[in-house]
Symmetry: C2
Subunit: 411 residues, 2 copies
């Protein structure tokens, strides 16, 4: 399926997510760009399903993103159609018409209103999608709707991803089992401004759309919004959450309901796992890296510094080379444009203190640090010594693989 070697950070196995009452799906091969693989996902939601979403803030967002933005205030969902291979972004009026056409075809296949259908598209930018490829495909897919296995939709939405990304949580609320299933795709153009390229989460929890939206907006900050592969923000970033409400439990209708926090925590776990999987399938990635910044003047300042480190090509190439080049971390702190005092700065790689108070740490152990850098999961901690602001950003290294994948993507 993947044109590139599978990421060395791929999980050894995938979770077998359980069916969720109220949602069924089918995938299809529409030949939009890829051959001999599924590239279309159709999801059908039972009546009563509510929707929430977080969309890219890109000033050049895609037609599909625009349509989601239009439909989200309705808060109601009956269908979702997703295709990989063409993002249909920057395709003007014709792009908008093609998106409307596809959602009409989907609505017809599912027997619902077009305004109840959400759409997400991913792939090359600037090429008008051939909407006629959906003719018949969605009708036919609608005859094959099933509630498992979830790996099929996860596969259908992949582009340069080298493995499907799934995460699920089962929690107990009022003694009733409630499920949350999520899928996502990466794996380049990843610096979400509030969502990764595409991710879809479905739960059977009865929950009001505004509450679901609030929880989603809250937890995206420390999950999808805290990852970066290459600092490039997509035109198509879309995170949608759907709640079918089929679990036999009272609905959460307010954030003040104490169950909102419990449900939110489980939702955050799913989002976090999907976000980390996205980083671990970052184009060319061989290392997963967590950048912790502590002691900043504010959390927002800590986040911007962590992002500057995580986005620095020099930091990322050093990590790829298993080089404990903490001087480049110093550089990235310096360029972030945030308050920092060089002479209060300390840096740890894992538990190893490499720099303290503005210079190489006493007892710095090059051999131990080099050994640490050979690991697959690395932690870099920067202590600014200015205040109590903190943040964590998750990223991967920058390797020859990234250049190979992106120097020849369209052809």
């Amino acid at each position: 399926m993947a044109a590139h070697p599978v990421s060395p950070l791929a999980p050894k196995s995938y979770p077998d997510l359980p069916p969720i009452a109220g949602v069924r799906f089918a995938t299809a091969e529409a030949g939009i760009k890829y051959k001999n693989r599924t590239d279309v996902l159709l999801m059908a939601f039972d009546e009563g399903t509510v929707a929430a979403g977080v969309l890219t803030r890109s000033a050049t967002s895609s037609a599909a993103v625009e349509l989601c933005r239009e439909n989200l205030p309705g808060g109601v969902a009956r269908g979702l159609v997703v295709n990989s291979g063409n993002s249909n972004a920057f395709t003007g009026q014709k792009g908008r018409e093609s998106v409307r056409y596809i959602t009409r075809v989907a609505a017809q296949a599912l027997g619902c209103a077009p305004s109840e259908v959400f759409i997400a598209q991913t792939g090359v930018i600037g090429e008008l999608i051939d909407a006629s490829k959906f003719d018949g495909k969605l009708d036919e897919a609608a005859t094959r709707l099933v509630d498992a296995p979830w790996i099929e939709p996860a596969r259908a939405i992949m582009t340069t991803d080298t493995f499907p990304k799934l995460s699920g949580a089962v929690l107990e609320i009022d003694g009733v089992e409630v499920k949350i299933n999520g899928i996502a795709k990466g794996s380049g153009m990843i610096a979400p401004d509030m969502a990764t390229m595409l991710s879809f989460v479905v739960t059977d929890m009865p929950i009001a759309a505004p509450v679901l939206q609030a929880l989603l907006s809250q937890h995206v900050q420390t999950t999808f919004n805290a990852i970066t592969v290459d600092s490039d923000t997509s035109t198509s970033d879309t995170l949608l959450a759907f709640a079918t409400g089929k679990a036999p439990v009272d609905a959460i209708n307010s954030l003040d309901d104490p169950r909102a926090e419990i449900f939110g925590a489980a939702l955050a776990d799913v989002l976090f796992e999907l976000a980390i999987l996205t980083v671990r399938d970052g184009e060319g990635a061989t290392k997963q890296v967590s950048i912790h910044v502590e002691g900043a003047t504010t959390d927002a300042s800590a986040f911007r510094i962590a992002k500057a480190i995580a986005d620095s090509p020099l930091v990322k190439t050093a990590i790829a080379g298993e080089d404990a080049n903490w001087g480049r971390v110093v550089m990235a702190v310096g360029k972030a444009g945030e308050p920092a005092d060089r002479d209060k700065l300390s840096i740890r790689f894992g538990d190893l203190v490499v720099a303290r108070n503005g210079e190489r740490a006493q007892g710095y152990d090059e051999a131990a640090t080099s050994a640490y850098m050979k690991g697959e999961e690395l932690e870099v901690t920067v202590e600014l010594g200015l205040g109590s602001g903190q943040a964590t950003v998750y990223t991967c290294d920058l390797t020859h693989g990234y250049i190979t994948i992106n120097g020849d993507y369209r052809s």
Copy 2:
């Protein structure tokens, strides 16, 4: 000299810059990091030489930058000492002491006050320089001071540069020949916040220090501040200009002197050529790229959008792959956080219109565009259609060479 293959964008020959009255120099091998090459430059200025400079705004700037910041207000220079191989940045109190030690050794060798000596250091961050390596070296160098050839100082300051960078201008002021010679080094960690890693410009023009400073600060904006190799801003960025005043012509003592503009234009030419040479020796570069943004709401907004495009790894890898992937340019415009209207956006590669009014241009010629991408110097123009703001940023592509150089720099 260079550990990496010479950039394919290296000039075929180097200018033979003329001697400038009032400045002499010598280079030496101090073995700071490199073997069998010069790594120290000592410049001696005659009495009456004034200095101006622009230094990094990094919050973690080096000890050498701090010392220049201290000495610049004096406006007087008698000496400059530069070393490659170790930037002595983030080395704490001991780093500051080493810088003071080296400038004292230089002052003694030149017979001047330490406050009249400027220093610049470049190379690895976080390793304390062994200041004793300068003992005797500078004394000995001071016995060999010459006024040519200028390629020697240009070579001594190189780090990962694959070619020396020189530029000169000879202009006539009041019927008198006035000279400006400049040298620079790159070639990674290049996203100057007001200067590239290191650049030194010397003129024999009599000019007051504040005027020289004003002209330097003005012209750095469209030259060194308009280039980026990898978005990473150095801790050591230093641009210094020295005016020996030896040309037999009345001094420029005010910006209102009409000759300030004439001299400034020649200075800008020298800075621009050095900046472009720095881009052309960007680590791993195989293409020189100019990003023009027009029709923005303001010049500053145009600059930020041009910078976002020039720093985008996806744009840079597409260019490396000779792929006319203008969709990634759209993406970068979208992520810049500046006013942009997708449906007014037009993009040209060279003279070829690839996108107009938010979609692929009518008559887009894939074959012609692909042929254009094979060129060594590329121009990307983005027309936003919002106002009259414009800016140009100069960059290079992102290739396997960059990864190779930076994945294994310290070892």
